[in-house]
Symmetry: C2
Subunit: 360 residues, 2 copies
């Protein structure tokens, strides 16, 4: 299983080692390796452990100068496909690139893992192999949503790790989300909102009223700004940096938003194709549209993060190209630099009445 | 309280009488009266009962030839505002234009009501005054969402009448939604989908699995096409004409979708303002953009409908202008022409094992 170069040698020169699952994405290992190469060029502290079919990876890596001497390969012939059911994967995962990628985080040789593969399987494997942080009942998936906030997006969690969340889970989501916003995106005092159907305190489900009290009580000590209940329209808004909800609601919300955005994009394209005049207009408007695209491009804010585990796992979009993979790698690197997992563990521990240590 | 003309005289010439709450919308009674006048010009069968301050309404109506001799006024000095809490409104509603508008449906003089006012208050008052149909536990609000479907939108319910729904409620929503799609929009065999986080049958909450069975078992007899579980991305998609969910999830989903669409629109406008060249482009692109706007313009598919009550109530958007009000009036008229409430009552009754009569 060992590759042609020793990882400890690499780690001395490149202190942030990331574990990368090169398989399972729609565009195959080339997009993944290229994305990592782009990141390597920008960040001189990065090294990689690549997981996948050795021969293929060797060929791909040899083509990218930025990666030479900065990575090792862990041969893994099997792939978790998008159609595999998480419960099945868990039983037969050994030998897959996904399992191997998580293993590198588990044994401490990498500071975090990145994968474009099957979300459900990745969550199930990560939970089993990395374990939940003490005090965490349900881990959560946090994503970034384009918004009117100064940094251009908001953090939302959970978007589908679990379909349920009680008041205690929602409190944990709030703490994990704000710690993620602080460490991942340098927002010193994140504004945290709890998703509901109305902003009046009397509305909504029982667990939400309870969570409202629990989260409010922790705001001062954990140094975040609790803005109370927010609505669906605030997910792309500028009222909160972190939106807290259960995985069912969060998943439906982001898929509705994504679907609507894609529909508008397609209709816009159609509209511009309609007449010679509008085709000319679209040519002239190209730079404007590109600017807009860049602003809301999902590839630039690519990467759902699994929160509540003993290691950092970044889930890149299945359809991610090199740009998307590179964005996910950048996020994993930033979290590694900040020792995010340790800080999160400390933060969650304080939720249990223990003294805050290095909590953030 | 009677106006200068007798309603029965009007009803002989204009067989579809609609009750209209002229107050409570953001643009005031002028937009509402103008919207009704536009509808009157297009549909020669329409007559109106207007509810609001008599003097103001008289002035507004006298300016619109299409309305002369086709409407009466019920004087109502009080207004339900957007900030009023539904529970409070219910106790002090007498004398408001909203209460009066519902009363016209209750006493049978109008075939349906249209209001731009406070949704929660309108739902609470409608439920109390019009009562629920036999067999209905929770009424639902159904809205139209721009989609890739052949008719350009999908029906979704519930979007906020209640925050809860059990499996039986969801079955009722499916029957009400498909009957609405059939009668309101002439879709003979509506495709019905149940909103979930994944399309695999094993996923999701218990009540959803139960509802899946219940709805599937009714598809043949009620002549709709049950497409099974759908995801958030299918709300603007072409997989189902009717999307069934609980009011909490539905409300969050549409508000996320609306917020994302508005954000994209604003960013697009900004992008086009950026340089002289892009400003020129936007001028050239104007017709294309107008065409797109028309396609996804919420005013054209304006009108949430309250389903499950003994009368038809159409809730127009609070910010609706004359075009928006006219769209809501058109919808209420179509439902009245089809005797929608009677058909819906028959359809729900069959859900209780009774023989289908005029069910649709």
């Amino acid at each position: 299983m060992r590759s042609y170069q020793d990882l400890s040698d690499i780690a001395r020169k490149y202190p942030i080692i990331l574990s990368v699952d090169t398989m399972g994405g729609d565009l195959g290992p080339a997009a993944v390796v290229n994305g990592c190469a782009n990141s390597a060029k920008k960040n001189p502290r990065l090294g990689f452990v690549f997981h996948g079919p050795e021969a293929t990876l060797k060929r791909l890596i040899e083509r990218r100068k930025a990666l030479i001497g900065r990575c090792v390969i862990r041969d893994a012939a099997d792939v978790v496909s998008m159609d595999d059911k998480p419960s099945q994967v868990v039983r037969h995962a050994k030998g897959t690139s996904m399992y191997s990628a998580i293993e590198s985080v588990r044994n401490g040789e990498a500071a975090g893992a990145v994968s474009c593969g099957n979300t459900g399987a990745l969550m199930a494997l990560s939970t089993i192999r990395l374990r939940k942080l003490p005090g965490v009942n349900r881990p959560a998936i946090a994503i970034l949503w384009p918004s009117r906030s100064p940094h251009g997006f908001n953090v939302m969690l959970d978007v589908g790790a679990d379909i349920r969340a009680d008041a205690e889970d929602l409190l944990r989501f709030a703490l994990m989300g704000m710690s993620y916003a602080r460490n991942g995106f340098d927002i010193p005092e994140p504004r945290v909102g709890l998703l509901n159907v109305g902003t009046e305190e009397h509305k909504g489900r029982t667990e939400l009223k309870e969570a409202y009290e629990l989260i409010g009580a922790r705001a001062d000590e954990a140094k975040f700004d609790f803005v109370g209940f927010v609505e669906g329209s605030d997910i792309p808004g500028d009222l909160a940096d972190v939106i807290v909800t259960d995985g069912f609601t969060g998943n439906v919300a982001i898929k509705t938003g994504e679907g609507t955005a894609t529909l508008i994009g397609d209709l816009l394209r159609e509209a511009f194709k309609f007449s010679p005049l509008s085709r000319l207009a679209s040519l002239l408007a190209l730079t404007s549209l590109r600017r807009l695209r860049k602003r809301i491009d999902p590839r630039r804010v690519n990467g759902g993060v699994f929160l509540g585990l003993t290691g950092t796992v970044v889930k890149s979009h299945g359809a991610a190209d090199a740009t998307g993979v590179s964005a996910a790698v950048k996020l994993a690197a930033q979290l590694a630099e900040k020792n995010f997992t340790d800080k999160l563990a400390a933060r969650i521990a304080t939720a249990h009445g223990e003294a805050p240590k290095e909590a953030s």
